[in-house]
Every structure is written in structure tokens, then in C-alpha cells.
């Protein structure tokens, strides 16, 4: 049975629009509240997995990560050589910020950071024009002058946003991150426009090596709710990358809990990044998902 659309649903997606308009429009005139979305073109996302990505201590193996990233970027940008693929998105005179994530329980990992660094250096960008940073990006001179950004972070459930994602990874560019926590971080995509980050971002990498699919306690973490997925999701569209990661997290929750267990709170910032902010494509039907490598247990 199709679930009816309630006024709470409306209030969730329509901040500052008077409810009277919506009630009459949606229930009287049968107008979909989603029609405001621009028709964005479809987008490509690559999911690559390798069962050898992690060692016995669940630490990433540098060489395997580099290989996975190379294969994924070649497929994403239709190139036969990883260096040529990187040359498509980074020029030697670019100043490049690699926006990482240092969350202590599941960081981006140095294996991923170094794999990116290595290829950017090979494009010809001098070492002094590359920086890896997370919480210090606002004070970092390379990030302050950056002409290009690579956005890499781990996938995990998040207390306020539902899911910690590539879209959310840019919250550290704002002076007061907690200002975005209202309404489940609904408007995180706004950061990408307000801080001129959208056009600078050349690649998004959602690290799915050991994703967290359920969070508990003050630290929102338990190893029990992680699993060795051994994957990376890469794309130029952060919304499509996040939307794909979200489907995997949701599928894992269903598998683990034995029933559909929606994220608390829902990761609506991903859906709203398309519908409200037009940052990219969240709708899976318009995402061309290319799966490479290990397919068993891919959950998507």
C-alpha cells in the first residue's frame, strides 16, 4: 500500500513555505512537492571492491587501495591509464586541497590519502601546492588558495545527518559547523555553493572499507556495527556518490536487523541536495552505477 504524504512530510521538505499553500496545492490540485527539482542529467558512479583491501587487523593495504583507485578512475573518466585520467581533472598549475576526514574510529585512512597524493604529484603539481587536511581547512594556506579539491571521506551513520557523506565532509569549511545540525542537517548542500566549493571539486571518494551502519552512544560508534565491505565509491557528482553509499548502508541495516530499519534521523540531506539545492543527482534511476571487482555481498 502506498504511504500517504502527511503534513509532517511537507514540513520536512518545505521550510518557510506556508503549510496552507501546500495543503491546497498538494491535496487539492494534486501537485507533487518534488516538481521544483531541475531535470539534472544522469551521472556515473563507480563502485570498486577488493577482498584483499584490508589486512588481518582490518588496516588498508596501500598497494591494493592504489590499484582500486586507479581502476575506478580509469572507468569513471574513460581512460586507459590512471595518470591520463588524473590529468583530465587536475592540471600541473592547480593548487590542490585533499579534504580528508580524521574521525578517530573510521578515518579516510592514510592509504587512501597517499594514493590520491601520489597521482596528483605525477600530474606535475608541486608538493608545496598540495595539502591534506580536515579540521584545519579554513586556516590552511593551500586550501585558502585552492583551485581544485579532492573530497575523500569514510561512509558512516551520523547522529545528526543520518549519514556522514561526501556532501557533509565540507562542513569544516564553515566557521560554525553546528549551525547546520538543525532539521537533520537538511541543507548541507548549501555549503557547496556558499563557500564556492562545487566547481572546485574534481572528484569525490566515499571510502567504504569498513563502513559503520549503526551508531550508538556518545561517540556514535561500536565496532560491532562495522563490516569489511572493502570498497570505494567514486564519482564527480557528490550527491550520486552519497546516494549510492546510502543504499548500501540501508541494505546492510536490513540484512543485519532482519527488517527495514530506517536511519535515525533519515539522511535527507542527500535527497535534498538534489531536490532543494540542485547539487547533483540522488535519484538512483539516473545514476549509472558501474561495479568493478569483488561482487559478493555488494548489497547493491
Amino acid at each position: 500500500m502506498k504511504k500517504s504524504f502527511t503534513r509532517r512530510d511537507f514540513l520536512k521538505i518545505t521550510a518557510s513555505v506556508p503549510l496552507t499553500h501546500l495543503v491546497s496545492r498538494a491535496f487539492g490540485n494534486k501537485v507533487s512537492p518534488y516538481q521544483t527539482s531541475k531535470n539534472l542529467p544522469s551521472t556515473k558512479v563507480v563502485l570498486i571492491r577488493d577482498p584483499e583491501a584490508l589486512d588481518q587487523q582490518k588496516k588498508p593495504r596501500d598497494a591494493v587501495i592504489q590499484k582500486m583507485m586507479d581502476e575506478a578512475i580509469m572507468k569513471l573518466l574513460d581512460e586507459k591509464d590512471p595518470r591520463e585520467a588524473w590529468q583530465k581533472i587536475i592540471k600541473p598549475d592547480d593548487i590542490v586541497g585533499i579534504k580528508t576526514n580524521v574521525w578517530s574510529y573510521i578515518p579516510t585512512t592514510s592509504a587512501v590519502e597517499q594514493a590520491i597524493w601520489q597521482r596528483i604529484r605525477e600530474v606535475g603539481v608541486p608538493q608545496s601546492n598540495i595539502s591534506i587536511d580536515d579540521r584545519g581547512v579554513r586556516r590552511n594556506p593551500v586550501f585558502q588558495k585552492a583551485t581544485a579539491l579532492i573530497n575523500a571521506r569514510p561512509a558512516r551513520t551520523h547522529h545528526w545527518a543520518g549519514m556522514g557523506s561526501c556532501i557533509k565532509n565540507y562542513i569544516m569549511f564553515t566557521p560554525r559547523p553546528s549551525a547546520y545540525h538543525g532539521d537533520s542537517c537538511a541543507d548541507l548542500a548549501r555549503i557547496w555553493f556558499e563557500y564556492n566549493l562545487k566547481d572546485k571539486t574534481r572528484l569525490n571518494i566515499l571510502v567504504m572499507l569498513t563502513p559503520l551502519f549503526h551508531g550508538i552512544g556518545p561517540h556514535h560508534y561500536s565496532e560491532k556495527y562495522t563490516w569489511p565491505y572493502c570498497g570505494l565509491i567514486m564519482g564527480t557528482d557528490p550527491v550520486a556518490v552519497d546516494s549510492t553509499g546510502l543504499r548500501i548502508i540501508e541494505a546492510k541495516r536490513k540484512e543485519y536487523f532482519g527488517e527495514k530499519r530506517p536511519l535515525q534521523p533519515p539522511a535527507k540531506h542527500i535527497f535534498l541536495a538534489e531536490k532543494r539545492h540542485h547539487l547533483g543527482v540522488a535519484d538512483p534511476s539516473r545514476i549509472e552505477l558501474i561495479k568493478l571487482g569483488w561482487l559478493e555481498g555488494s548489497l547493491i
Binding site: L11, V23, S178, P218, H219, S222
Partner: protein, 311 residues
């Protein structure tokens, strides 16, 4: 005139230094008291790190979720890391929430897990024990969950609970909840609209005007397939409750013709009923009731509770 002005400045300075000095002393005492509640070693476990965090520094320690503790007005957090056999680690977070109501409230934020008799209410799941007692909320967490860490967590929890001598009564609003069909694990107590929206989204804006002066309880009832939600709020005075109800009606129930009515029920688009009533400084809203009558039964029982809850 000048002399009087200088005199006033000197007096203010002396007073300020005195107040600041007292605050520093109070803080030192508070820290020492909290240290005394958590042992520095037990069994084969030793403290290897200790830090304090306040509402300004909590984000250095707990990512975005620190906002939850700030929403409950936490005062100070003592964090201690224990090292044990096989290089295993356990982390204790002892929060001084300033009041029993806040400690209970933050405990109700996440009640998932196995219920245990530690402190005044405890749950355990996935290597994490959470409990509250008096004005303290305690979280004990193992990086790796196994039988060894589970036993250590539970033993340490019992020790800390025993050291906390104070207890606090449940907030009065909790006793007002009608007990029949109530889902016990789904009672949330709070005063911040961020927390309301986390558990049950009402609106982006703080249309119910929740703040540090208000207290609220959110409870879920299982009458049939759909869950019915009761939200009860106590305002500092009647006028505030009335204004909040008017704002809620205007934004959430705009089809109500007479906005002066104090008791309203509307059948919403999901065929369930939303009803609201205000009496003195209390405002009650019932969402998704199976019938108008059922909604008002809940509301009236909330206004006129008969049984006092245990616990």
C-alpha cells in the same frame, strides 16, 4: 564625582575577581568530586588518560553528537581511558548534567539495548553501557566487544553507580503519561526542539517555542498498527503555553477555522487524528490517534493523572 566613579570601578573589579576566584574553586572542587566517582584502577585495568571537557570544548572529543549533551545543559564531562589485558581499551564518560532531570533526559535519548539494574536506569548494547543516577549520566564503552570487556564494563558501571550517592526523582511530567498501551522504551524527556525533531519531526522551525525554560515529554502508544504520539510540554507560565499552541495551530493545523479554540482535533491526510489542548501552563498534542475520542482520552489523562509511575 571622580572619586565616586573610581571607587565604583575598584569595587566592581574586586567583586569580579572574587566571583571568578569562586568559580575557579568551584570548578576544581567539581573536578575532584567527579574524579572520586570513577576508580583509577580495577581488576586488571588501569587509567592511562584523563581529560575534562565543558560545553565549549566537547566537540574536540565527541564529534557532532556533542550537541545532544549541550541540548541537555551538561556542565562538565570527565573522560577516562582504561587499558586492560591484551591491550584492550575501555572508555568512561561521566557527564555532570547539572540536574537529575537532565541526566534522565539524556539517558532517554537512546534507550535501545538490554535493560540492566545499574544506577537509576541502564541499557547495554554492542559494548556500550549507559546509565543515569542523580545528576550524572555515565557511558562506558569498549572499542572491542568480547566477554572480557563486557564483564569489565558491567563491573565498572556497578562501581561508579555505587560511588554516586545521590538519586533523583523522575520528572513530574513522566508521571502524567497514561500507562495503558504506552511503549516504555519510547519515552523521551527534553527541552530542546532539536531533540524533539530527532525523535519525532514536527517542523523545521521551533514552532512550539521549546527552550531552557520549558520541559517536554514525548511518548509513543501502540493502539493498533500505527503508533500514536503524545507530546506534553510544560511552559514557565500559562501565557507562553497559550502562545505556543496558537503558533502550532496556525502552522500545523491551518485548516482550523476558529483559532481561539483551546481544544482542537483534525483528521489529517493519513486518516488519523491530531488533537491539541492547553490547560494552565501545560500544552498537549496527540499525533496520529486512531480516533478523535482516543486522542482526547490521552489528553485528559495527561492533564489529570491518577497513578504515579514507579522508578
Amino acid at each position: 564625582m571622580k572619586r565616586i566613579t573610581y571607587g565604583a570601578i575598584i569595587l566592581i573589579l574586586v567583586f569580579s575577581i572574587g566571583v571568578k576566584g569562586k568559580m575557579i574553586n568551584d570548578k576544581v572542587e567539581q573536578k575532584n568530586f567527579m574524579r572520586h566517582l570513577v576508580p583509577s584502577s580495577f581488576e586488571n585495568w588501569q587509567v592511562t588518560e584523563e581529560k575534562f571537557y565543558d560545553p565549549q570544548t566537547i566537540f574536540d572529543y565527541i564529534d557532532g553528537a556533542g550537541e545532544v549533551y549541550r541540548a541537555y545543559n551538561f556542565q562538565l564531562l570527565l573522560s577516562r581511558a582504561f587499558h586492560g589485558p591484551s591491550n584492550l581499551k575501555i572508555f568512561v564518560d561521566l557527564f555532570d548534567m547539572g540536574s537529575g532531570a537532565n541526566a534522565f533526559g539524556v539517558f532517554t535519548h537512546d534507550r535501545e539495548g538490554e535493560k540492566l539494574a545499574i544506577g537509576q536506569g541502564a541499557v547495554y548494547k554492542g559494548g556500550l553501557l549507559s546509565f543515569w543516577k542523580g545528576r550524572f549520566f555515565v557511558s562506558i564503552f569498549a572499542e572491542v566487544e568480547n566477554q572480557l570487556t563486557k564483564n569489565a564494563i558491567l563491573n565498572l558501571g556497578q562501581m561508579i553507580a555505587a560511588q554516586i550517592k545521590e538519586t533523583s526523582p523522575l520528572p513530574e511530567l513522566i508521571h502524567r503519561l497514561p500507562p495503558s498501551s504506552l511503549i516504555e522504551d519510547k519515552i523521551h524527556y527534553f527541552s530542546h526542539h532539536l531533540i524533539l525533531n530527532y525523535h519525532y519531526f514536527v517542523a523545521d522551525e521551533n514552532i512550539l517555542e521549546l527552550n531552557n525554560q520549558t520541559e517536554a515529554v514525548l511518548a509513543f502508544y501502540q493502539f493498533n498498527k500505527e503508533k500514536t504520539v503524545l507530546l506534553g510540554i510544560r511552559y514557565p507560565h500559562e501565557k507562553k503555553a497559550l502562545l505556543a499552541q496558537q503558533r502550532f495551530r496556525a502552522q500545523y493545523l491551518p485548516e482550523v477555522s476558529d483559532q481561539r479554540e483551546k481544544e482542537i482535533a483534525i483528521q489529517t491526510e493519513n486518516n488519523l487524528w491530531t488533537a491539541t489542548s492547553q490547560k494552565k501552563n501545560l500544552l498537549v498534542i496527540v499525533f496520529d490517534a486512531p480516533s478523535k475520542e482516543k486522542a482526547f482520552v490521552l489528553i485528559n489523562k495527561f492533564f489529570h493523572p491518577k497513578e504515579k509511575r514507579r522508578g
